[in-house]
């Protein structure tokens, strides 16, 4: 107990001294304030302005818990492993439970402080009307349970993995798998059942089971249900119970398996990045592979993009999604022929453009230089007879090879809509401007992620991604608020022209900002090479 308290006190002390946590809390309040400003006109016309605002707050909280929570909890134990202090803590007779609680509770406290920073806005939503105390307490309970689940999943990954980046990556991968894995399995079962390779009855039972799992894990959409006017339930929904149950189970697993999982890290020599099976089979040796003449590209294709194995894995996953969609389509429509390419293309494009590509691009940007700086290999690379840009772009080239499967599948998925897209682009300048603007935001965001990954010491891959997205988002929100006010002043015929002008200015500003960040990245990389 004393040991847990000692760890807690240490964590609280560093938390209160750390400017970052105060900034994060301030940042969240600012985001809510901005959401409020952005939707002020919408709320004026709404009969329940309090509900509209609370809904936005709930979504902001849900996103924060899922992404920031996952990132923060996933480094709880792995940061000690990475800094090689875990052994020292264990030598001080601090047991697994004390360690877990000592590292877990302060983070929960941080989350509580984040929620408490929003209380004034919660009061405001009640005053504005349209949302009841019951709905508010049910929403907060749902968020708390979601935090408990995400936090414990991340804690488990933190115990299991040896470094922060790997723990973060596994946390988010398991979160996605937990949400969509059963759906994919069910899709596959339906497809196989359709061609009589799987029992129909079993596929139906699996469907019911997956449906129940889907209801329990859909915490994001549940926040919407809780705020319906027809809401009459209590705080103990299925989602809350299942999230709390899974969270407790994962905490128990982290505790029970703590020694087993961390012992290999303490013994040293076992890296998280080398599969265990490979080590068992080959005892730390394997057949050396031939390096390409494009050496740096080869290295980063393997180390950042995951190499050939990762390409095969991605293609297999896309094949699985395709089969799932086809199975679902056949099960729903009964006919495999009409509109299948469009539906399949639509689903795949949506999955790639909304989930896979942003994650792949973000993680590539975050992982491009950080491991080199962390492992101090960057200075060795800089002694090659090549300039910093030559090395950096070679690395980028190699890492981008990992996107080939995703881009190929995206191209195939978009094929049914290609003519429409081109026609739309040619016909409507607004669409073209929209594309250019979106492109400029994405490029700026990727640069921001790379910049944070090399300059912020505590920003492991997921945190660098979050910082990059939040910073870029903040730079975009403020000018759009300005536009909203200007549009009100220019309402009428000039509004469209103002919109085009504003859009072009934004795009240009984003590209200029990207140039500045790009230059700063180069400067930082040169400095870091000399410093390490």
């Amino acid at each position: 107990m004393n040991q847990t308290l000692a760890l807690l006190v240490r964590a609280f002390r560093s938390e209160s001294r750390d400017i970052k946590s105060h900034l994060v809390r301030g940042g969240l309040v600012l985001v809510i304030l901005l959401l409020f400003l952005v939707h002020v006109s919408e709320m004026q016309n709404s009969t329940a302005p309090g509900r509209t605002m609370f809904q936005w707050m709930t979504w902001a909280n849900w996103a924060l818990i899922t992404f920031a929570g996952g990132a923060v909890f996933s480094v709880a134990i792995s940061e000690e492993t990475e800094q090689q202090t875990l052994g020292l803590l264990r030598m001080a007779n601090i047991g697994p439970l004390s360690l877990l609680l000592g590292k877990w509770l302060p983070r929960l406290w941080v989350a509580f402080l984040l929620v408490s920073a929003q209380f004034p806005f919660t009061w405001l939503t009640i005053t504005l009307g349209g949302v009841s105390w019951e709905q508010i307490s049910a929403s907060y309970m749902l968020l708390l349970a979601h935090l408990f689940f995400v936090g414990n999943l991340a804690l488990f990954c933190s115990v299991w993995r040896q470094d922060n980046a790997s723990a973060g990556a596994w946390t988010f991968s398991l979160l996605v798998l937990w949400r969509v894995g059963p759906l994919l399995l069910w899709g596959l079962a339906e497809l196989l059942a359709e061609v009589h390779l799987f029992p129909q009855e079993l596929a139906r039972s699996l469907g019911e089971l997956v449906g129940r799992h889907n209801r329990c894990t859909a915490t994001g959409s549940m926040t919407l249900d809780l705020l319906r006017t027809s809401f009459s339930g209590g705080i103990w929904t299925d989602q809350v119970i299942s999230s709390l149950g899974m969270g407790a189970l994962l905490f128990g697993l982290s505790w029970v398996l703590f020694d087993r999982l961390t012992l290999r890290h303490l013994m040293g020599g076992v890296s998280s990045t080398v599969p265990l099976i490979q080590k068992l089979m080959q005892g730390g040796s394997r057949r050396s592979r031939r390096v390409w003449n494009w050496a740096i590209g080869w290295k980063d294709f393997r180390q950042v993009a995951g190499g050939k194995r990762s390409i095969i894995l991605k293609l297999s996953l896309y094949a699985l999604v395709t089969m799932g969609v086809i199975a679902f389509y056949i099960a729903e429509s009964g006919s495999p022929y009409i509109h299948l390419p469009e539906i399949l293309g639509g689903v795949l494009s949506w999955v790639i453009l909304v989930i896979v590509l942003p994650l792949e691009l973000g993680s590539t940007a975050a992982k491009l230089f950080r491991p080199e700086l962390k492992d101090q290999t960057w200075s060795t690379l800089l002694t090659l007879p090549k300039s910093v840009p030559e090395i950096a772009y070679s690395k980028l080239g190699g890492a981008l090879l990992g996107l080939i499967p995703t881009l190929c599948v995206l191209f195939l998925a978009l094929t049914p809509f290609l003519v429409d897209i081109i026609e739309e682009l040619a016909r409507d300048p607004e669409v073209m401007l929209g594309f250019a603007y979106a492109f400029s935001v994405i490029i700026l965001c990727l640069h921001a992620i790379t910049y944070f990954s090399i300059t912020v010491g505590w920003a492991a891959t997921p945190i660098a991604m979050i910082l990059g997205v939040v910073t870029t988002g903040a730079t975009q929100i403020i000018p759009w608020i300005g536009f909203a006010f200007l549009a009100m002043a220019f309402s009428g015929s000039g509004e469209q022209a103002l919109f085009y002008l504003w859009m072009m200015m934004f795009t240009a500003a984003n590209l200029m900002g990207t140039g500045v960040v790009h230059w700063s990245i180069g400067k930082e990389l040169s400095a870091k090479g000399a410093a390490s």
Binding site: G269, S271, T273, V274, G284, S285, R286, R287, S288, R289, R290, V291, W292, N293, W294, A295, I296, W298, K299, Q303, D375, Q376, T377, W378, S379, T380, L381, L382, T383, L384, P385, K386, S387, G529, A530, S532
Partner: protein
């Protein structure tokens, strides 16, 4: 002295308000093994980074192979190998992949790389471990791989920052053997180390720096034998040394006789550098002294280092 391969002239380097180097100057001749010594915080690593072009000198001039480190970066890097004081390796690669990767990065084609990697593996005695993952190797083995990496571009100049740090005695001795072999192959080796006894044995020349300033730079022998105007000889007597103690003071040209504590030895200080050592030895034989050894007294590098560097904490 042969043509200098490294020329450092009045180099000053500041990190914010900390002066890491304060007008440092020295030269390293081609084909020599040059030691670089100094207390922690003296500016050794900064000097090495300047020489290997990772940093640019703020004032002063550094020339490597006669080329300026500010402008001729690629030409210098092509002929130079730098081994930092930390293990910075891609530990998920095998030894062969790691070396093949750097050989390819230096622009060698696949066939040539096979030969190069084979050669450096043989030189560092790592052929049997070529398919091992680097992360599974011991510290000494990893240091060998690091050294092998430095050799893949067949550099004329090797810059080694604390290569023996953290190694066990066997690994240290083996590393020193490899360095001797490299010197025999005509490489110039610039080595920073804290293990002074080994440097004294290994190096032809040495530079001692402290607080960013050069305290000594020149041949190792000159440093170890430099004793001012009155040289000292060391005499070892085989039988009953005490009886000779008073009789030795009558030797011609000898001004002081000092017994060495715990050893059957005497330190004989002579009047000037002009006194002939052979004449003293002849006189000792005439006197019938049972001589077991007679040699010019040599300081240890440790003593020279302590004399030349200042006490106190470096920032």
């Amino acid at each position: 002295m042969s043509q200098p391969i490294i020329e450092v002239e009045k180099v000053t380097h500041l990190f914010k308000d900390h002066r890491a180097l304060n007008g440092i100057s020295f030269e390293v001749a081609a084909g020599t093994l040059h030691g670089f010594v100094g207390p922690n915080g003296a500016g050794k690593t900064t000097s090495l980074k300047l020489i290997c072009t990772l940093l640019k000198p703020q004032t002063g001039r550094i020339r490597v192979f006669g080329k300026d480190v500010r402008t001729d970066v690629k030409e210098i890097r092509q002929k130079l190998g730098y081994m930092p004081d930390h293990f910075s390796m891609y530990k998920q690669m095998t030894v062969y992949e790691y070396l093949d990767f750097f050989a390819a990065a230096y622009g060698h084609v696949a066939k040539r790389r096979e030969v190069i990697v084979g050669d450096v593996l043989a030189l560092t005695d790592m052929e049997g471990r070529k398919d091992d993952l680097i992360q599974g190797l011991s510290r000494g083995m990893q240091q060998r791989v690091s050294l092998a990496r430095v050799l893949v571009n067949d550099p004329d100049l090797l810059l080694l920052d604390e290569p023996a740090s953290g190694l066990d005695p066997r690994a240290r001795i083996e590393l020193m053997e490899i360095l001797r072999e490299l010197r025999r192959m005509g490489k110039t080796i610039f080595i920073s180390s804290h293990i002074l006894s080994e440097l004294a044995e290994l190096c032809d020349s040495v530079t001692i720096i402290d607080r960013g300033m050069t305290k000594y730079s020149g041949p190792m022998d000159d440093l170890l034998y430099a004793q001012g105007d009155q040289p000292v000889f060391r005499l070892r007597i085989e039988v009953d040394p005490d009886q000779w103690s008073t009789r030795l003071s009558v030797l011609p040209g000898v001004t002081a006789v000092e017994p060495v504590e715990g050893k059957p030895e005497f330190r004989l200080t002579v009047e000037s550098v002009e006194v002939d050592a052979n004449a003293i030895l002849a006189e000792l034989l005439t006197m019938g002294v049972p001589i077991a050894g007679f040699q010019r007294d040599q300081r240890k590098l440790n003593d020279a280092f302590m004399d030349l560097t200042e006490r106190g904490v470096r920032t």
